[in-house]
């Protein structure tokens, strides 16, 4: 490692002396401030550049270079213009487009990124550029294997001089370390270590492509959670829910643990025996997350806590944001090299994430993992859209690998389209929102209930077919014929029953009209009711005749026939008595007789009527039950 750095230094110095291509020397970096943040497993280098155009042509792109061994760990690169004049003011502009370029006449072991400016930098002008570069796996554990009681020491190699294709006038480097304990660091003139901050004094007039290696060996006990593979599945249901399922395959990316693990030592003094291990992880889920679960292959893991809708202040932007916090504790603490695998799932309301514009629907969702400070080696995001989605396209703010699959889920006929996005080397800075656009006809949502309806209807049709089907083998056997006759008898009796119930309702109507008469005194209405009931009952007796004849002729009805005839006779009797009573009462009203008088006249009739009615009801019940 050191030998490589030295050869690189010699090579670039020689190159700088021998050649100077005109494109590169147009720009001058007047002031460069580098702040290297080593407080977590992810190395973040923030560089503020003051770029001056010393040439005569306007420049529209600025080149940034990284040595190859650093460039392969580069996970995220963003450059923004700093509008404010003061130092320390956060830049508010959106990131400028950066892309990898391969310019001519450059050393092979460097990787170049080109930052395109919106408006060119004119002659003599200067601007401030903030560049944030995020590196993963850039800290090497040294020693590589430690025992439970050892402290975890990491090695960080970088350059004190800002490696750039342009000349640098003034530059300074500040390194922020997680703890005040530093094992060793490269001492150049004017370096100062105060607390947990290491400052290298400003360097002046640095030629292009100059590289001065520095090495810092320090202790870092932050959780080194690395996910080897993370599969996030986001399933959209138009009935009101977005279901997210995340499958994690985690390991501890720091110094590997050697020797034995003593649970007693760990639990007695966790900060001495096992300072580099991590026990819990905090995930920040979107607000209004519900039905959160945390399980693995064995089953549910109960060591977790959920705080719903907690408000946090984002110190950098001084804004409030709501989130649901989930703290999970794997089944065992993770020491160096140990692995664990689990699944987290949660549901979110649809209206926070699905929108419609210009006839297309789109899902707006965050790309990375919700766990804080997690490095992901391979991230696969699968967006499952409802069946019937067409014209699917995804727009992600950084380059990813995309393809489509199909997933068969509940009530599916042809399967749901799935958009799969894959990216390597993902850091929390990638937690930006991406969009998936698709077209969906609202009527397609009815397909699911229609499937269920047809299923149930098929059951009913099967029932009807079974009842209508005549499955007897012989149509002339005695038992079959007997059955057919019995069914006919049943039908006839049913019809008689219906007719008699009609008659009984007519009787009830008569009684009701009598009661109305006593209330209102309207004789005409009463008479009208009697007339209609009369005609109804006459029709009834005509209908009953053929049915009774049939019953008399059928041998199967022998035991019911007397009861039926009795019923009909009683009903006729009841009918006559009721009509007589009705006439009497109406006459009395017309003659304006008193209530007592009326009662006397109809007393005997009334008794008979009630008893007959009771008998008729009993017979009806009996007939109903055969």
């Amino acid at each position: 490692m050191l030998r490589f750095a030295l050869t690189l230094l010699l090579f670039t110095l020689a190159f700088g002396v021998l050649s100077s291509s005109p494109v590169f020397s147009d720009l001058i970096l007047a002031k460069v401030d580098r702040r290297i943040d080593l407080t977590s497993q992810i190395v973040r280098i923030t560089t503020s550049l003051k770029v001056e155009n010393a040439g005569s042509n306007p420049i529209s792109e600025i080149l940034l270079s990284f040595p190859e061994n650093q460039a392969k760990h580069l996970a995220y690169l963003t450059a923004t213009l700093n509008e404010g004049k003061g130092k320390g003011k956060a830049s508010s502009g959106a990131g400028l487009p950066t892309e990898v370029v391969i310019p001519k006449d450059v050393p092979d072991s460097l990787t170049f990124y080109s930052v395109s400016l919106h408006k060119g930098l004119g002659k003599g002008e200067s601007l401030l550029l903030d560049v944030l570069a995020v590196f993963t796996h850039a800290l090497e554990p040294f020693p590589e294997k430690i025992s439970q009681a050892d402290i975890q020491l990491l090695l960080f190699q970088d350059t004190a001089h800002f490696l750039s294709p342009y000349k640098v006038m003034v530059q300074s480097v500040a390194v922020k370390l997680p703890e005040a304990r530093v094992e060793s660091y490269t001492k150049l003139e004017g370096t100062k270590l105060s607390g947990s901050e290491l400052k290298y004094s400003p360097f002046h007039n640095i030629p292009p492509f100059s590289y001065l290696p520095i090495i810092i060996h320090f202790e870092n006990n932050q959780p080194f959670a690395v996910a080897e593979e993370l599969v996030r599945e986001i399933e959209i249901s138009h009935w009101g829910n977005v279901q997210v399922t995340e499958h994690y395959n985690l390991f501890h990316g720091g110094a590997k643990n050697k020797g034995e693990f003593s649970r007693l030592d760990y639990q007695a003094r966790p900060y001495v025996r096992g300072a580099s291990a991590f026990r819990r992880l905090v995930a920040r889920l979107p607000p209004r997350a519900h039905s959160v679960y945390y399980r693995d292959e064995i089953g549910n893991i109960s060591t977790s806590s959920l705080w719903g809708d907690s408000k946090k202040v984002d110190v950098l932007q001084l804004s409030y944001f709501c989130s649901t916090e989930l703290e999970i504790e794997p089944r065992y603490p993770l020491f160096g090299g140990w692995r664990t695998a689990f699944t987290i799932g949660y549901g979110l309301p649809l209206r926070d994430f699905l929108f419609e514009s210009d006839g297309k629907r789109f899902l707006n969702f965050s790309f990375g993992s919700p766990i804080n400070e997690l490095v992901i080696d391979t991230l696969i995001v699968k967006v499952v859209l409802p069946e019937g989605s067409k014209d699917i396209s995804a727009s992600v703010p950084f380059p990813v690998k995309q393809w489509q699959e199909t997933k068969f889920s509940h009530l599916d006929l042809v399967g749901r389209p799935v958009v799969v996005l894959e990216k390597n080397n993902v850091v929390p800075e990638h937690n930006e929102h991406f969009q998936v656009y698709y077209k969906f006809n609202s009527l397609s949502m009815l397909r699911e209930p229609l499937m269920l309806i047809f299923g149930f209807f098929f059951l009913f049709v099967a029932c009807i077919v079974y009842m209508h089907a005549d499955l007897s083998i012989s149509k002339s056997s005695a038992s079959y014929l007997a059955k057919v006759q019995w069914e006919e008898v049943q039908a006839t009796v049913q019809q008689i029953h219906n007719i008699i119930s009609h008659c009984l309702t007519a009787h009830d109507k008569l009684e009701a009209s009598l009661r109305d008469l006593s209330r209102t005194g309207d004789v005409q209405a009463c008479k009208a009711t009697r007339k209609s009931v009369d005609s109804l009952l006459k029709g009834v007796s005509k209908d009953l005749k053929p049915l009774v004849t049939f019953l008399q002729s059928s041998p199967q009805a022998a035991h019911i026939l007397p009861k039926v005839e009795e019923l009909i006779a009683k009903e006729r009797d009841l009918q006559e008595r009721l009509m007589a009573k009705h006439t009497t009462v109406v006459d009395c009203y017309e003659k304006k007789l008193g209530g007592r008088e009326i009662e006397n006249r109809i007393a005997s009739n009334q008794q008979k009527i009630t008893s007959l009615r009771q008998e008729v009801d009993d017979l009806m019940e009996f007939i109903d039950e055969i």
Binding site: G240, Q243, P349, S357, I453, C463, E487
Partner: protein
């Protein structure tokens, strides 16, 4: 134009109530269908009434079971 948020056609909190209601109506209609089948004889049965009762009952049962699935968290 500003994007409009899409929500479900039925408010989320109504799903359990709706499912109970539609399933109750569907089961009552199913019961009436089977009572009709059991009490009428071959001659007096009418296919039209059987089919209508079965169709209406299956519509209510279909929607009821869909809302039941959604209310239980299986977002189909």
């Amino acid at each position: 134009m500003a994007p409009k948020a899409i929500t479900s056609p039925v408010p989320d909190s109504l799903y359990p109530t709706l499912s109970v209601l539609t399933l109750a109506i569907g089961l009552v209609l199913t019961a009436s269908f089977f009572i009709y089948e059991a009490t009428t004889s071959r001659k007096t049965r009418s296919l039209a009434q059987e089919l209508t009762t079965g169709a209406v009952a299956s519509v209510f049962l279909g929607f009821g079971s869909l809302f039941l699935l959604i209310a239980c968290g299986v977002y189909v």
